[in-house]
Every structure is written in C-alpha cells, then in structure tokens.
Symmetry: D2
Subunit: 332 residues, 4 copies
Amino acid sequence: MVAVLKPGIPQEKIDNLIDWFKSRSLDVHVSKGQYHTILGLIGDTSSIDIDLLRSLDIIESVMRISEPFKSANRKFHPESTVIDINGIKLGGGHFQIIAGPCSVESKEQIVGIAQSAKAAGATLLRGGAFKPRTSPYDFQGLKAEGIEFLLEAKKQTGMPIVTEIMNANHLPLFEDVDVIQVGARNMQNFELLKEVGKTKKPVLLKRGLANTLQELLMSAEYIMSEGNPNVMLCERGIRTFETYTRNTLDLSAIPLLKDLTHLPVVVDPSHATGIARLVKPMAMAAVAAGADAVMIEVHNDPQHALSDGQQSVTPAEFTDIAQRIKKIREVL
Amino acid sequence: MVAVLKPGIPQEKIDNLIDWFKSRSLDVHVSKGQYHTILGLIGDTSSIDIDLLRSLDIIESVMRISEPFKSANRKFHPESTVIDINGIKLGGGHFQIIAGPCSVESKEQIVGIAQSAKAAGATLLRGGAFKPRTSPYDFQGLKAEGIEFLLEAKKQTGMPIVTEIMNANHLPLFEDVDVIQVGARNMQNFELLKEVGKTKKPVLLKRGLANTLQELLMSAEYIMSEGNPNVMLCERGIRTFETYTRNTLDLSAIPLLKDLTHLPVVVDPSHATGIARLVKPMAMAAVAAGADAVMIEVHNDPQHALSDGQQSVTPAEFTDIAQRIKKIREVL
Amino acid sequence: MVAVLKPGIPQEKIDNLIDWFKSRSLDVHVSKGQYHTILGLIGDTSSIDIDLLRSLDIIESVMRISEPFKSANRKFHPESTVIDINGIKLGGGHFQIIAGPCSVESKEQIVGIAQSAKAAGATLLRGGAFKPRTSPYDFQGLKAEGIEFLLEAKKQTGMPIVTEIMNANHLPLFEDVDVIQVGARNMQNFELLKEVGKTKKPVLLKRGLANTLQELLMSAEYIMSEGNPNVMLCERGIRTFETYTRNTLDLSAIPLLKDLTHLPVVVDPSHATGIARLVKPMAMAAVAAGADAVMIEVHNDPQHALSDGQQSVTPAEFTDIAQRIKKIREVL
Amino acid sequence: MVAVLKPGIPQEKIDNLIDWFKSRSLDVHVSKGQYHTILGLIGDTSSIDIDLLRSLDIIESVMRISEPFKSANRKFHPESTVIDINGIKLGGGHFQIIAGPCSVESKEQIVGIAQSAKAAGATLLRGGAFKPRTSPYDFQGLKAEGIEFLLEAKKQTGMPIVTEIMNANHLPLFEDVDVIQVGARNMQNFELLKEVGKTKKPVLLKRGLANTLQELLMSAEYIMSEGNPNVMLCERGIRTFETYTRNTLDLSAIPLLKDLTHLPVVVDPSHATGIARLVKPMAMAAVAAGADAVMIEVHNDPQHALSDGQQSVTPAEFTDIAQRIKKIREVL
C-alpha cells in the first residue's frame, strides 16, 4: 500500500502516522519529494481500511498495491480451477455449453428443450424457476414447480441443471440442483452470497450490471470465504450509454479474469445483447477470446416464450451455433 | 403501447397479430406508412410482455406509452405523499435532515452524535448496524448490538432512527426501528423488497448504482404492491466514468421524480461523492433543487471512523450545513 | 414518426397540430386511447425537427421509426460496400489486417516494422504522424516528417498506408496517403468530416469514446453526404465505469453495424484495451464476430515506444496473432 | 510518480531502470515489500511518458502523484481567476447570468430576446450561429449572418456576446465576439484549442460528454499553454445510462473544479437536461453549489425554435429563475 501525503504537513504529524502504521506491524518506507511525501507500507495491509486512511486530513491519496482478493487470486493459486458438476468438468481446458430457456414454463417444454439441446451438443441445462423481474406485475416464474420440472428434465436426459436462487430461504429446494446461479442483481447481496458459500455446490456468479471485475472477484471471495471453492464467474453484459443492445458484452473480461483468477469464466451472450440474432456471433467471439463455457438461451418456440423471448434462439439455430463453437475450439 | 411492424410483412401475418391483441381485450388502431405499419394498442396493456412482443419476427420496435408504475405514479395520485415517521412528517412540503454516522461503533459514539446532531438541527438519526461491504474481510457492522445502541440513542434524544436491512430474516430486530433503509446494492433484491412491503414501516429505498429512475420506481412498486405505501426514494449517486468522485450525484433526479411520482425524495450527498468537503455544497444544491430531505453522514471523530470516514463531516461542519440549508429553504 | 400527445389536450389544439403536419406533406393517422392520443406521421419526416416537436407543450413523447441515416443505411443499399484501397479490397468478404506502430518515430523504425508486419501477414500499414494527446506537454508526433517516413515505408514494401488527420488544413499533406483516419476524439468534429468527405479517399472513422452506433453512422453520413462513399467504421472501445481496461471493447457493435449498414467494420483491439496481452484474444474474438479488418499496434521495441507502448505487441507476437486470425477466418 | 514493480524481478533489471530514471534527473527512493518493490520518483516527472512506463514488462503499475495540469492548477495559482468580458467580471466572487436562444434565427428574434433577457437580469447574451448537429440533414445555423445579428443585438443592448466556434478558419468572423465557446464535441479537438489559445479572447470551454474533469483541465491547459489565460470551464452534463434526461448534470464538478483550479466554473442546465421544466431547479442547484455563472437557453417562442426548443424557457420563466438565483446568491 502506498500513501501520498499532502504538501506542507508538519513532521510531527507524519511521525504520528508512521508510528500508527508500525503499531499495526507494518514497515514504512519514506520517500520525500519536492511537494509530496510518499509512504510505502510493507507487510500485511489487509487489515487497513483504505477509506479510513483516505479520510485523514494529511493524506492526499492511497493506493492498494496488492489485490484485495485472496482465495480467488491466481497469484496464490496458479493452477486453473476445474469444477466438477455431477461428473462434467468445467474450467482448466474443459469447455461446456449451457443451454435452455429463460423460464421453465411446463414439464413438456423443459424436457423437450433439454432433449433437443443435448442432441445439438449442450452439456448442461439451464432454466429459470425463480425469475427476478423489474416489475412486480410481470411473470415471476413457476418457482418450486419449475425446479421439479427441471429435475424431471435432468432425469430424462442426464444433464446437470443450472437455476437461479433469489432467496437463501429457498436453499432446501435446491438440494438436487447441480449449479446454483446468483443473478446479476444479487451479485452484491452479500447475505445470499454467504449462504450459498455455506453449501458446497458449484455456483455460477453473474457480474452485476454496473460492477467492476474487482467487485465481481470480491463477491466470489464472499462465497469462497465461507468454504465453497466452486465458483464460476459469468460475464453477461454491463450497463453503458449504448441503447441498441440491452447491455454491452465486455469480452475483454475473459482474458483479464483469466489473468487475475484461477476460477472459470462463463459468458452469457443472450442476456448481454437481448437480441437473438447477435447470440451466434457473440458466442463465437466469446469462445475465441477464451471462455470456459457459454450459456445460451434456447427456446422451442421463441414467439411464445413467457419471458425474454427476444433473446432466445431456436433449437435449429442452436445446433448451428454449437457446431461453429466446436470448430473455433479446435483452432485455439 | 405502440408496435411498429417490419417492412414487407404479409397482410395475413398482420391480421393474426391484430386478432391476438383483440383476444387480449385491446383495441388496435392501424396506421400504414410508406415503409412501416404502426399498431396503436388501446386498453390495459399492462399484461402484455413487451420483451415477448419484441421477439416476434414481424416486429421492428415496441414502445410503451403508459409508465409501468401505478401505485407510485403521480398521474393516479396527484397529491404528494407525506410520510409520518413517529410523529415527524416528511414530504409534501415537510423537510427533514437525517444525520448520523456511517457505522454504529459504540453506545457512547451513537448517543454522542445523536445529541450533537439534534442540537444542530437534525430531526432523524441514521447509523449502520448491518453494513454491506464489498469485501468479506472488511468490518461488517455491530449487527443486533448496533440496533440496540441506536434504540438507546433514540430513547435519550427522542429522534426516530433509520437503519439498513440486508436480510429479511432480520426483520424481527427492526421492530422498534422507525425507518427501514434498503441499500443501493439491494435495490433490485426483489425478495427483500416484498418482505419490507409486508410491514407498514416507512422505507428509505436507495437508488442502485446503475439503476434508472424508472427501475427505482418499479422497486418502490414492489414494496407498495405488498401494501406498504410509506416509501421514500433516495438519490445517492450513480456510477459513471468520472473517477474524482466515488459516484456522480444525479440531482436532476429530484425534479424528475417529483414529476413522475408522489413519493418523497431524499438525497444522500455523503455516499454519492465520498468526499467530506463536497457534502456541504451538494447538500445545499439538493435543497435548492427541491429535495424533501437530505441525509448527511456526521461523525464525532472522522479520523477514527471504522468505515466511510472519508465522507463524514464533523458536528461543527454539520451545524454550518444545517443553518445554510435552512436559509435556502426560506428562499424556495 | 410517432407522436404521443399528453392526456386532456383540447381537440382544437390537436387539430392545429394535425394541420401543421399536413402542411408539411405528411399524412396523419390518429389513434385515441384511454389516456393518450397517438399520431402516426406518414411520409418523409426527415425535415421534422424531433427536438422541436418534443418541445411542444401538448406532446408527451416522439419516436422516430425510420433510421435518420440514409446513405449508410443497408435498407437502401443491401449489398456490402467493398472499398478499394490502392488495389486492396476491404469489406464484403474481403478481410485485411492493418498493422503498425502508434507513432512514427524514424524512417528506420517505420520501414522496419512495415517489413516485418508484411512478412507476418499484414496488408495495410498504419502509423501516427499527427498524434492527438490529452496533454499539450506530451509528444505530438513527427507531423509532416512522419508522413514522409510512412510514404518511404509504402515505397519499400508496397503496403498502402493509414494515418490520422487532425486538421483539415493539413489535407494537402495527405495527397499520397491511402486511408485517412478520423480519430475517436474528432468523430463529431463535423467540419473535419465535411472536408474529408470532399476528397474521394477511403476514410477510417473511429467511434468516439461515448458515442452511440447511431451517432457513428450519422458521422459517416456527414462524410458520405459530401460525395465520398468510401467510409470504414472502426470500433475501438467505449468509456465505461470499468477501470482495468482503458476502454470497453464493444464487439457486439460488429454484427449490429453489419445489420444496420453496408459499410465495412474494422476493430482496433490495441487502443480499446490498452493492454498488449489482451490484443491477441480480442483480435481473435473480433474476427469470430465478423469484423472486416483488425488494426493492431505493432512495435519493434515496445519498451522504447514514444507513445502508447503499453498496447503494442512485438513482431513475433503479431505473427502468432495473424496466423490464428487466418485459422478463425477459415472456420467462418 | 510512484512505480510498482512486478514480483520476482532480478536486481539487475531494477538497477537498469533506476539508472534510466536518474539519467532523466530524477531521484529514486526504493521501498522493498514482501511481494513488490516500489520506486518513488522525485523531481520533475512531467517529461516521463506514463504509458511508456506501464508498457515495461517489469512494471506492475504506475501512479502519477502530481496533477498533470500546471497553468490551470490552483496549487500554483491560489487566487481565483477573474475574467474581464468587455467590462463584465466573471469568477472570483463575480457571478453572471448568460442567456439567449440555442440558435440565432433572425435579427428580430435575437434582438428581442436580448432585450427581454437583459431586463430580467441576464448580463451576457448567448446564441448559436454555427451549430454542431449530429445529422448533416439538420439545420446548421445561420453562420456568418448569425454572428452579424448577434453583433446587432450587442449594439442595441450593450450585452457582450458568447457564441460557438467549430472551425479555426472562422476565427476572423469572431473578431468582435466577446466570448468564444468551444463545444462539448470539440473539447478534445486539440487543433482548435491551440488556435483559440493564440487569441486573447475569453473562451468558454464545455466539458465533453464523456470527459473526466482531469481531461477538461488538460484541454484548458492546451488553450493556456498558447498564451491565453482567459478560460471558463463549463459543466453541461455527461453521458450515463439514465435515459429520462438527455445527459446527467454533474453538479459535484463545481466544488471539485474550484478545488483543483483557479478558473471560473459555468453551468449550463439547459443542454444538460434537455427538458425546459428542469432548468429552474437545476440552475438554482448550480448556484447553491457555487457556480460562477449559469447559462440558460431562453426563447421568445419555444414552440417555434429551430433547434433545441425542448430545453428553452420563456422570458417570463427566465425572469422567475433570475430572481430566485439572486436570492440564493444572497444566502451564500
């Protein structure tokens, strides 16, 4: 950690500050410049509250040198994490395609999509049972019944299932769910993160609409610090001024996250763009950029989807996407 | 609602769509242009899923004319809502100053600040017991004990208290809390919104870092649709590319929200800017723009605050702010 | 164009507005809803000032149905434009790699890089002679001498050259330049756009840091409306809240632009990310998403680049990138 | 400047780097931590290219301690600059109201507005002769004729005039203009900045839609470094995700800029919000936050404005705004 002092601070105040740092078992290296004095703090600075330091009236600025994330940090864990999802490996060179509808609507619907998605190359089934909707008047999902239907689709196809949790009190319903998804709007619902951290289940953690990659890693840290190392990070678009797309898919997040962390990176081009015809090029781009998995919304009848139909592709389109992805994987 | 069709759609498909709208009890007015056909849908369109409509391959674009919020809409409730907070009125011309520390640290601290804030003109006491922190390794608040200390300060000063909830399971601890705050990171934690909606307590709902005003109103709608009309909206800065300030305080939200809704608007200049010396000018600006209340972080000893010290003002500074605000109120 | 009227407008005012539209040779279709009256305007609405309409006190909102860009619009020009750059075709299936240093520093440097870039597969040479720098105290480029050195590199390698213009008065210096680049900061320097529009030279128009795709197309329209159809659009990252990368590369712009316009789309992953090790994955992703060209900063000695060294790749890395791009092109 | 080295760098490489810094007349203070070595660079670091440093493969991060702006920096020029605009003082406690239409449309229009604006309390007249428009098909202003009409209004009312320049070649037309405005879209048109810097005329420099305050100050630096100290900075809204307002007015820019620089700060609430009814509350808020001037769009007949009518207020409304501003000024 580096602290830059304001110009013209009396030596006595500087000495007091240095003593305070030393009382925290930190070594302090002092560099005096023409205008500024710079303090380099050596040792474990994780207990120092950077906001508190900044509030001191003798401080101009403070910069953290070490990343604040530890369990997720590749520096301390150089090997890529491979997550075992009921026998299917994801990460560290193991690539998977997650597919399924935005919302589970009926047993027939989810079983039908699961079968066609599996035939086309998908290895994990997704589907929303609890749906976070901006409006209280919109369809909120089939809830517990939706999870039952997903489990039926899992039984019939053997595909592990991914579905979103919105309330830690619902965890008992997720007993047989293979991957618990934490949605973008709950990325900083720290109470929920702690509770899914107490399970050992794989967690798909979506990046919030306006969250930095460092915040995403800190939210992963919440889950990991409770004892659950099985975290996948999911880029699904960030909020910008551009209005043609629903969000802006930040694909540079893929190689950046792979530098910073050992956790696998999943990309969701469907929610990011909100436009079905962009899903194919963006899925291919995500794979070319090094994603460990893509998550694609597939619907057997996009015109009658109860939610997010706009971003769904048909099984035929999905088959084409899966084949092109496979070819790009071969190039890498 | 207005739906614009793509060019060159066969009449039969258009007729099918119109029949479908009519089956939903909507009247349809058709305008045929050189390239586009426009359908004006007349009636209660709230049950129409706008994303679904957009997904149809014959549709170019869909625009909602009526705002999707109802209970919060000033059109249907022209009079400004006045919220009664344990005898103190807020909204509809009643202006209040909410003050207190970011975190409750001890009984002495919170009682001391409450007394000096009250003396300076504050009418409501705020203080964090449960603290949402980006890092799991940062101080998370005194929790239940923090609420006890707040209640002690309330007892000694008579000031109603405002404190944040992070988990609906903690609601029993909020029995004697006067205003429940829902933080920016939980603005779209819809499960939490529903639960605070089931209480009748005044709720201070903070705008999320990247949420539009319409989304803020839809989140208020979640609370109100459960039967709780006592919602205050709080602007506390949005995330932009500017890095000097922690967030960008969007003061135009004040007059805009007052047009759109009858609910009171509160402004938090402390969290928005993250810089103590900006709190005074921004609080004055918020009042000049028509805010119903400002919420100001005050600390008896900013250099030893356990969290967010950077944005705290001292009691002496707070006294000056409160006096200037009073004068601006007189001008309005 | 669709205009939605406010509730409760007297019929006489509505009739006056309709008469005014009719005097502008527009047909008006009226749909009366429960709260709102909607006017569908049929005919050539391009002469209607949408801001003026919105300013009328009887208007709630106005929506343009037709895109405001014409010459660049794929609807009126379905075939993809192929630009001939001194014999090299770009667009409509013709893919090119543009490579070179951020700044031209010396004759030896630019000739050396041109030779190694050509050997590795680059077909166009880029290099900055006039450099837009945020600070007046930073290196501003070799200017006219830089262009001379570029022309020497062109002579020795046969590669057409791309270089940025900052001032229309410099156009005589660009006589033998093959592609004139308009930088992101000048994307809405409309006077400059008009002047490059008066030449017939291919123009590489970079998207501004905070400009929408529609604004990018309107700037292309400025060039095209002066008689120059040879415009290439370049995505180079937009400004967001994320701070790890310099900008956020918006790759969904590629398929979106290809839908909206017939003009070729170029991607610059070097400036977008500002991090050399992200250039390879992002270049590959851009190609997978359908870019017509990528522009890559190459430097023979990244540690001594006079500007933007951080985002430069070495000739060896560039060779690897060019080969991988070629393989991805084969998959498409 | 502080440079943080990557972990595990051989001492020889560190020594080479230190020698290179010393050859640039810098002193280097070395702090060795557990993982990182930190170099504090003491002396005039303005000649060091921070991007170049970051590109070195032994460097983890580089932070500039001193602000890169010099002439505009309050540290080196503590007294607030007062700009003399043809006898009217602006800055350093001298507050002014700039008013006028977005576009000059006719001699009668501009003279009429000038007279009513002056009567209501405006001291400077603004009006657009050269108009930057997103579309080449929109009205581009009366150009030279517009300036003539402004000069006529100046003659009749005695009000100094403010109008925008878009092309340095037009400077001769600005001979008798009192304040040259550089628009938001040209904030980083560095060639234009240099040319207006060569005049001695007061310049009103508008913040770009996506430009940081530091970039705004660097653009002021371009003007000042050419010898023109008469720069006013103008906040006029930045681009964010919010769509209700055209831009988000960043009023915290006022106290921040006043800390960082001695230059006056002007606020334009009309362009920022794009909504006439928000102009009054935002103008009042700007004054309460400490602005040295506000610039308000006034139109004698908002329903027939040729451009930007939506954000114009009538002379009657302007009179009310000017009176309320006066009262808030008295409170400060």
